[in-house]
């Protein structure tokens, strides 16, 4: 299944010929991860479907009382910026670790910046959850609130997982160097991280902004 030169072996950023066997090895590993990512997308889709079939009840505070517009804007900005910095990280890995010169410091810098932005996102999200619960909108009050908390919470859990995964990669890269194992881990993690931003587009558009309209 070897592809002609220049063609991508798998979806996502390819390492390229200068990485030798690592490039070829990435094909099955990253494609397999895409299969997982797509099944994860279906899971998110079902959470969205459940959310779409619920309506805010008169018993409890609705979207306008619960959502903090400024905080949603901050979370969106944090996540979009972190998507770009994670892109810078894989670009650094691709361009500077293809054999000769290697700049691990630069790679670690971009990864830690991504973690920082991810933590900023989580901080705002968790404080929103706390203030929502305090404003009379805990997940147990209505079907709408249950669907809202589980959809947004599932995304938050994914972000937490992505941050932990990124930190593991940082440690691995610092201890073992940027070898094949960590290159492939980085490629997969980048796909994961970009996907979280794609899911967030739907959340901020339909759940938050749609609710505030």
């Amino acid at each position: 299944m070897s592809a002609p030169t220049g063609q991508s072996l798998h979806p996502g950023l390819n390492l390229g010929e200068e990485h030798g066997d690592d490039h070829l090895e990435a094909e099955t590993s990253v494609f397999g991860f895409w299969v997982f990512m797509m099944s994860d997308l279906v899971t998110f889709g079902m959470f969205f479907a459940v959310f779409a079939t619920t309506v805010p009840l008169a018993c409890c505070p609705g979207p306008k009382e619960l959502f903090d517009f400024g905080s949603i804007a901050w979370q969106t900005a944090f996540l979009l910026l972190s998507s770009v910095t994670s892109g810078m990280a894989v670009l650094t890995m691709k361009q500077e670790h293809g054999g000769r010169g290697a700049c691990t410091k630069k790679l670690v810098f971009w990864l830690l910046l991504t973690v920082l932005l991810g933590c900023g996102f989580l901080y705002r999200e968790i404080s929103d959850f706390i203030s929502m619960a305090a404003a009379g909108g805990p997940p147990t009050r209505s079907g709408y609130l249950s669907a809202l908390w589980s959809l947004v919470g599932l995304h938050g859990l994914h972000v937490t997982g992505g941050i932990i995964w990124c930190l593991v990669i940082v440690v691995g890269v610092l201890v073992r160097g940027v070898d094949r194992r960590w290159k492939l881990a980085l490629l997969r993690w980048a796909v994961f991280w970009h996907f979280l931003d794609v899911v967030w587009i739907f959340i901020f558009s339909f759940v938050f902004l749609g609710g505030l309209l």
Partner: protein
């Protein structure tokens, strides 16, 4: 040359995504109203395409067949499951 092209790719994606984020936020903050919902849907779909194209490097050309089939099939499954759920429950709702 090739290196700066790849960087440029990400930055183009970022600029497009930022614009497509700012439009719905500004709209909700200023105009509002049910009609803005169409713009929300439009911007969201466009931004998803931007992310797939510029951040996840997926395109209709130069891509292996299985890769696209995987993504398009997932899209089809999502359409069936979400569309079906909303259809069935929406129908029940109108009969209540």
């Amino acid at each position: 040359m090739k290196k700066s092209k790849e960087l440029h790719h990400y930055l183009t994606g970022f600029a497009l995504a930022a614009v497509l984020t700012i439009i719905p936020f500004t709209l909700v903050a200023t105009v509002g109203g049910a009609r803005s919902y169409i713009v929300l849907v439009f911007c969201a779909i466009l931004q998803v395409i931007v992310h797939f194209r510029f951040f996840l490097h997926l395109s209709f050309r130069g891509q292996q067949k299985e890769d696209l089939q995987l993504v398009l099939f997932t899209g089809f499954i999502l359409f069936l499951m979400i569309g079906g759920t909303i259809w069935v429950l929406g129908d029940l709702y109108t009969r209540m």
